[in-house]
Symmetry: C2
Subunit: 343 residues, 2 copies
């Protein structure tokens, strides 16, 4: 088992100094052509690769982006990561991914760990607990130490930094509008508890659409789901003897759960009840009937976030003080769950 070869070893073998080897590999004119060729041949033979750690220490940068997301087993977040990776790799950056598991503590630990030398900057979607706790000191501290942070999806208004979001309210409004334009009058919304920023925003968009259409908003058509793991029974109870003709769900799981409940109740989708979800994942695509949904373009978000971060990392000082918020357009992906029934 041959260990990794270093400059020092090459230098020793060739009986030259370390600096000569280093310069030779970089084709420095300081070094004679002859020596250069010898060194390079040797380096290739022994498969020399510069040690990233040493380079990081010397350059005081790691060429690594830290991504912290609330859940790793989550379609939307993985699409975002896909986008980040794409841009990062193009620009020679590595990506480290950590999940906070929606735990505040784990978010802090991961961030501190990566901040102490492992990453140059962060792309972050905050944990539920963090949103609830409203404690952002770890983010502020990281930024204070000169490491840029880009927030996406679940952002924090109070923290001043680059952000990538979708216009949640607008997306929800568009979706609701679509239901209204189909002639639906009794549109229920399945949403989250208020401290989840995106849930609240989407609810607002729903309400805005109703008002614009002068459809009375009715408290009893709003369900704020607490326990996401148990949403199906909550939805079942909620829908029981409620005469709705459409459902807008603020995420994919709620939409699917609603569809299942309706199916059990013998209702037809879209004839009896139309459904629109949020987040264009595989569930919406493959469900029968396939579900109309508001696409968040996760990969795009990742791409934009990575670009913002790398701009900050490589930008001149002028740009550093300026923070941008990129708003990704949502789009309504129309599928069977809102197909107009003929006649």
């Amino acid at each position: 088992m041959k260990q990794k070869v270093t400059l020092k070893q090459i230098a020793k073998e060739l009986d030259v100094s370390i600096s000569t080897v280093s310069k030779a590999l970089k084709d420095s004119v300081e070094i004679s052509l002859d020596t250069r060729q010898k060194v390079k041949a040797f380096a290739k033979l022994y498969n020399y690769k510069p040690n990233n750690i040493a380079l990081s220490l010397k350059n005081r940068k790691t060429k690594t982006i830290g991504v912290i997301i609330p859940e790793i087993v989550h379609h939307f977040f993985t699409t975002v990561i896909g986008g980040v990776e794409k841009v990062a790799n193009e620009k020679g950056y590595n990506v480290i991914i950590c999940s906070s598991n929606n735990s505040f503590d784990k978010e802090v630990i991961n961030m501190e760990m990566l901040a102490s030398g492992s990453a140059d900057g962060f792309i972050l979607s905050v944990a539920k607990e963090t949103q609830l706790k409203k404690d952002y000191h770890h983010i502020e501290e990281t930024m204070n130490q000169g490491m840029p942070v880009v927030l996406f999806d679940r952002i924090i208004d109070e923290v001043v930094c680059d952000k990538v979001i979708i216009d949640d309210a607008k997306g929800a409004q568009t979706a609701t509008n679509h239901l209204l334009s189909l002639g639906c009058k009794r549109i229920a919304i399945l949403t989250t508890v208020d401290y989840i920023s995106v849930g609240k925003l989407r609810t607002n968009g729903y309400l805005r659409a109703l008002r614009a259409y002068e459809v009375p908003e009715r408290e009893e058509l709003i369900l704020k789901i607490e326990d996401i793991d148990n949403c199906e029974s909550e939805i079942s109870d909620f829908l029981k003897d409620k005469d709705v003709d459409a459902i807008f769900a603020v995420n994919e799981l709620f939409a699917v759960a609603a569809a299942k409940v309706l199916h059990e109740q013998g209702k037809n989708i879209p004839k009896d009840v139309a459904i629109i979800g949020f987040t264009d994942g595989i569930l919406s695509k493959h469900f029968i009937p396939s579900l109309t949904t508001v696409s968040q373009h996760g990969e795009d978000m990742g791409v934009q976030a990575a670009k913002l971060l790398i701009d900050k990392l490589e930008g001149d000082d002028a740009a550093i003080e300026e923070y941008r918020t990129v708003i990704i357009d949502t789009s309504l992906v129309q599928r069977q769950s809102t197909k107009k029934t003929k006649g």
Copy 2:
């Protein structure tokens, strides 16, 4: 914007040497109690955190595990990552994730990048292209440089290292047995092209089950799908005027696609045709009808893989020469798609 504080800065402020600070923070008896307290107070005040990069360089290890998977937007792989993360974090390891995007070149690049200082060892599921190309030099080289590699799921028989797999053939056999025990006679299989190891193994298990039941295997009931993105139409053609009473699919997507095709053809699941898939993902769980499936216990695989790797990383030299293969038990998750119809 205060930069990260280093030992040197603390030393300067307190007018002591760097080594004194370092030792004081480690509560060395070499340092007087008085100095120790002073240093620690100062360190806490300035939120000192040792620089991981410097430590990595000094210790010649990074406490980081590199995970390379074929796809990041993939439920099964993310569950595996979840398992890896769990164990890794418990043991103080970081996890770097890279996706090869099923490209051989990207797999090599990622591996070399991480191997040159960023990770101490690898957990890897090889890209399709790599399996097709049968070029494993990057894996061998990495191991030759003293970095342990654990292969999972899509493994390579020719490479000698730790492995975590499921018994694909057995899982498939169990699934097929279940269909047979339900009284199904004309069981089709939707599988992949042969060079995908898991596809082939699962097909073998299917055939084995048929033989054990003395059901004739019929070539025309085997569909090897080439273009996974277009599987629905392939399946549709395949199923057209074929009188099958059960379908075994070697992955989740094929199972769902089959279910959709059957639905379009007006067939009832499970009454007309029973379906079993492979991989217990969200699609199988939420589909109507919910799909019976062979669970691979992805998180378990991740846990085991991480344990194997960390054992190698921290084990004494005796253990290093010995390679283990952990076989994770599959289990059949019975759902509606194979419910026995009464009578």
